[in-house]
């Protein structure tokens, strides 16, 4: 009995001591993660631990196959290696922790920290400093924010149209290609607005850049051209934040450029790139639009006697309606519009020019007009990976009210606008437009005239909002009609293709 107890005691003490060792190691790991400060403390902690560990080991080693000294040396070497690797990892996590908020809780494994994009961290001075340094390196001026920002959105940029970025550029612009300067101006003035228009204009400007490009000595086109495009993209981002469709187009071009073989001659390479851009526009925008229209019309999504509600001015939805009218479908359209952009007026003009009979209301009257409506067609700026639809502000309201009235909501979107971002609310990532757009003069008076002087008054001019997939019944893409929740599948298939 005694011997059993003794032997058990020995086992217990051995297991116990092994457990103790494991616990100490875990505690060590947690402490290192939480403790961002001096590594000396950790080293001090580690030393007694490491000294304790080998110290506790020799008495618990019952029958060593190797000698005690050899095992001790082995373990010490292992721990030195672990400590060295933890130092480097700690250096990384230290940096990452300053610029991002870890989303996963600290676990045994190193947490997978996602870096947040800088354009939604405007209230973080470190991020701003980093951005300023990056722009300085690329010789692009920094655009300063304007006006008081509403506190919920103080993490986003807010620019004024009266202070264009070209104020700080030299006039025959040498750093940035003139086509890109023109494009940036057109973006910030709103002359080119709408997801498709912006992407097409961007690709057109890139065509001119590629045409005027010459490879410098000792450089490869595939690497140098990508580096040349980076400051242009920063410039355009400063003029107006890039849209998801533009982001995808840029990714495509960069990929095409880097795939150019190094033995390719410059003219050939340039021709190849220009053809790639042409085919991208053709496939993803023009033909996709045609396919979507065909799909919508043939599958009887627009039938005779329909009353279709559209919101704002979506080039794709206008295209579908015009095509349906050409195919002699009898329907009428209700155009819903909202301030301050009043884009619905442009949609109204295009539809009426074709001969479609239209009604025009403002968004405040949407619940009044919905009992007449049979279908709602919405355009999208982007489709997010969790099925949410990002579109012009007001779209989610329309979808909500339509759902309450049991009216089907159809979103039309080309696949090149799908992005793998995830968002569930409109606050996290959005765009703040010029607040002065909200000021309007009626009968000679401008009520909001001196709004900057009121310390507690902030004007908010949001551009986008997200609609949950429960309100959307169908998404019409060139791949067919899919439910909102199939967006990640399409994305996965696209990634596999590439």
């Amino acid at each position: 009995m005694l011997s059993l107890i003794v032997s058990e005691g020995k086992d217990l003490t051995k297991e116990e001591k092994q457990r103790l060792r494991k616990e100490k190691k875990q505690q060590k790991k947690i402490k290192e993660k939480k403790d961002d400060k001096a590594s000396q403390e950790n080293e001090k902690e580690k030393k007694p631990v490491t000294s304790a560990a080998p110290a506790s080991q020799p008495p618990t080693q019952p029958t060593p196959t190797k000698t005690k000294a050899e095992l001790k040396a082995e373990r010490r070497a292992r721990q030195e290696a672990e400590r060295a690797s933890k130092q480097t990892k700690k250096g990384e996590t230290g940096q990452q922790a300053a610029t991002s908020k870890p989303k996963a809780p600290p676990s045994d494994l190193q947490p997978v920290v996602k870096r947040l994009p800088e354009h939604i961290q405007v209230d973080n001075p470190d991020v701003l400093k980093k951005l300023a340094k990056k722009l300085e390196r690329q010789q692009i001026p920094l655009r300063s924010d304007y006006g008081y920002k509403v506190s919920l959105f103080s993490h986003l940029h807010q620019y004024s149209r009266k202070a264009p970025l070209t104020q700080q550029l030299s006039i025959p612009s040498t750093v940035i290609h003139p086509a890109i300067v023109r494009l940036g101006l057109q973006y910030s003035h709103g002359i080119v607005a709408g997801s498709n228009a912006r992407s097409v204009a961007l690709l057109h400007a890139f065509k001119q850049v590629i045409r005027d490009y010459t490879t410098p000595q000792n450089e490869e086109l595939s690497r140098d051209l990508v580096n040349k495009l980076k400051p242009y993209i920063s410039f355009l981002n400063q003029c107006r934040p890039l849209s998801a469709s533009m982001g995808n187009a840029i990714k495509y071009i960069k990929k095409e450029i880097s795939n150019i073989p190094s033995n390719c001659k410059e003219d050939e390479a340039k021709n190849k790139l220009l053809n790639c851009i042409e085919s991208y526009i053709n496939e993803k925008i023009i033909l996709a639009g045609v396919a979507i229209a065909k799909c919508a019309i043939e599958k009887q999504k627009i039938s005779d006697g329909d009353v279709i509600l559209v919101y704002g001015c979506s080039s794709l939805v206008n295209h579908i309606l015009c095509k349906a009218f050409e195919k002699n479908r009898k329907f009428r359209v209700i155009v819903v519009d909202s301030r301050p952009r009043l884009e619905g007026k442009e949609a109204l003009r295009r539809l009426v020019q074709k001969g479609i009979s239209c009604t025009y209301v403002l968004i405040s009257a949407v619940s009044y007009i919905l009992p007449e409506v049979s279908k709602v067609f919405l355009g999208a700026h982007a489709l997010l990976a969790n099925g949410y639809v990002m579109s012009r502000v007001g779209t989610s309201q329309i979808a909500l009210v339509a759902k309450a009235f049991n009216v089907p909501v159809l979103v039309c979107c080309e696949t090149y606008k799908f992005c793998d971002r995830v968002q569930t609310d409109s606050f996290v990532s959005n765009e703040l437009d010029d607040p002065d757009d909200l000021i309007v003069t009626r009968k000679g008076t401008t009520p909001l005239e001196g709004w900057e002087n009121e310390s507690s008054l902030g004007l908010l001019n949001l551009v986008y909002d997200v609609t949950p997939p429960d309100f959307v019944d169908l998404v019409i893409t060139e791949l067919g009609m899919i439910p909102c929740t199939s967006v990640p599948v399409v994305l996965r298939v696209k990634n596999v293709d590439q």
Binding site: P164, T166, Q167, L169, S170, I171, P172, S173, T174, P178, V181, R182, L185, Q186, H189, G190, I191, V192, A193, G194, N196, A197, V200, A201, L203, H204, K207, Q208, I281, I286, G312, C313, S315, E343, K345, E346, A347, R349, V352, Q353
Partner: protein, 457 residues
């Protein structure tokens, strides 16, 4: 390269012959800097690195010796043309057409302004305009001008400028001289732009951004000789002419039959631009059925400055006014470091003293500009005057409201009020108590006037 700058410095200064008798207009000193330095400085500040300067041989020679112009860091490509004055500004552009590779920014050498140039160029870029120009609200000149009886200016021909309701798009431009019996506006313009603001109190700064296609058009169409007088009104009218917006092949055939040179403004990727415009939900006007810009390819824009200095130095009154205002544009010391000013001299804060000047005791200099190498002796009172380089003013003189050109000598005790003394002239000392409202002395009539005055006194 985006823009090439062209500076027109061959103008003769036909409205201020008194001043330009000996010195070419481009080299007249304003605030002790040559007049053409101001537009060059404007271009340099904004970031230009090269300027094509069109000028006469005389000016070219003067430029090579002038210190301030040598200070200019840009590369000046000087093109000299004949001095006989038959060449208009558009002819000059035609002359340098081989040098022009991109869109151009044309300036006149007599423009002094502190405009933010990006305002004009942004209109040119953003709307893909054929022409963008700068205009400014005219300010009344307050200073008395020597040689003018009373304050009333000679009646200048008014310019009628019509802009749309945003104030940026140029719809109509005509000079009073060209309108025989009233202002007539075409119905097509009114249909497209029902609201038009017509302004008359504007000064054309002669700063134009022109597309390269316009320069090519000028080489074909040799009948246009002045930018301001003929080309600009032509472009403004052409915006609304039927052929400008037509894409009808029959109309093009019609044009070729009659061989009028046309402005070809389309770019290489026209279908893509068209596609972007179609998809964009932007329109510059609301209320009718037409697309953005009414489908017109030719567009003219104007930026109207309402604050700040914008002055064209082409009359004597403007010259005097600008001498007051121009130094305030820069923060330079009003007294040149090499000037030798005695302590008992009373100098106002808005006076400017040039280099290597000698100002003796008991002098009083108020609201005046004194040029380089000038000597002012004792007991001289200079008020509200402009004294150019190399002038000698003997003791006891009293100079008020006058302009004294280079190398003149004012004799002892002379009393000049609102006078204009020409280049290299001598004013008789003491005996001639010159106190008339107007006195102009040139080499030709000096002797006659001297005899006349002597007989009067």
């Amino acid at each position: 390269m985006e823009l090439q700058a062209v500076l027109m410095a061959a103008g003769g200064g036909s409205r201020m012959t008194d001043l330009t008798y000996n010195t070419p207009k481009a080299m007249l000193p304003v605030g002790n800097k040559p007049l053409m330095w101001y537009p060059l400085n404007l271009l340099e500040k904004v970031g230009f690195e090269e300027v094509i300067v069109i000028t006469t041989k005389e000016v070219q020679k003067a430029m090579s010796t002038d210190l301030k112009i040598k200070d200019v860091k840009m590369k000046l490509d000087v093109v000299s043309i004949q001095e006989d004055g038959d060449m208009g500004t558009a002819d000059a552009l035609r002359h340098i057409q081989p040098k022009i590779k991109t869109d151009i920014l044309v300036l006149s050498c007599d423009l002094i302004t502190d405009v933010a140039l990006h305002e004009v160029v942004d209109l040119f870029r953003a709307h893909n305009a054929t022409m963008a120009m700068l205009m400014s609200k005219a300010h009344e000149f307050t200073e008395t001008v020597p040689g003018q009886k009373g304050k009333k200016k000679t009646a200048e021909q008014r310019d009628f400028v019509g802009v749309d309701k945003s104030g940026k798009r140029l719809l109509f431009m005509a000079n009073e001289a060209d309108l025989e019996d009233g202002l007539s506006i075409r119905k097509s313009i009114m249909r497209k732009h029902p609201r038009m603001l017509i302004k008359t109190g504007l000064v054309d700064a002669h700063l134009y951004c022109l597309k390269k296609a316009v320069v090519d058009f000028l080489t074909e169409n040799k009948s246009i000789s002045s930018i301001r007088g003929e080309l600009v009104p032509y472009l403004v009218r052409k915006q609304f002419s039927k052929t400008a917006s037509a894409s009808n092949p029959l109309l093009f055939l019609h044009l070729f039959l009659f061989w009028c040179p046309e402005l070809l403004i389309s770019s290489r990727d026209e279908p893509l631009l068209q596609l972007a415009q179609e998809r964009s939900c932007w329109n510059d006007h609301r209320g009718d059925m037409s697309e953005a810009y009414h489908g017109g390819k030719l567009r003219c824009y104007v930026h109207i400055m309402d604050q700040g200095l914008c002055c064209r130095v082409n009359t004597l009154a403007a010259y005097i006014e600008v001498n007051r205002l121009a130094p305030k544009l820069f923060e330079e010391p009003s007294v040149h470091p090499s000037a030798d000013i005695s302590e008992r001299c009373q100098m106002g804060s808005d006076s400017i003293i040039g280099a290597v000047c000698h100002i003796a005791d008991k002098t009083s200099i108020k609201r005046s500009t004194i040029g380089n190498f000038t000597t002012v002796k004792e007991k001289v009172k200079v008020t509200n005057s402009i004294i150019m380089h190399g002038v000698t003013i003997e003791e006891g003189c009293n100079i008020q409201g006058s302009v004294i050109c280079s190398n003149a000598v004012i004799g002892r005790g002379a009393d000049l009020k609102y006078c204009l003394v020409g280049n290299g002239q001598h004013i008789e000392p003491e005996g001639v108590n010159v106190c008339v409202w107007y006195l102009f002395i040139s080499a030709k009539c000096l002797s006659q006037l001297g005899k006349f005055l002597h007989s009067q006194v």
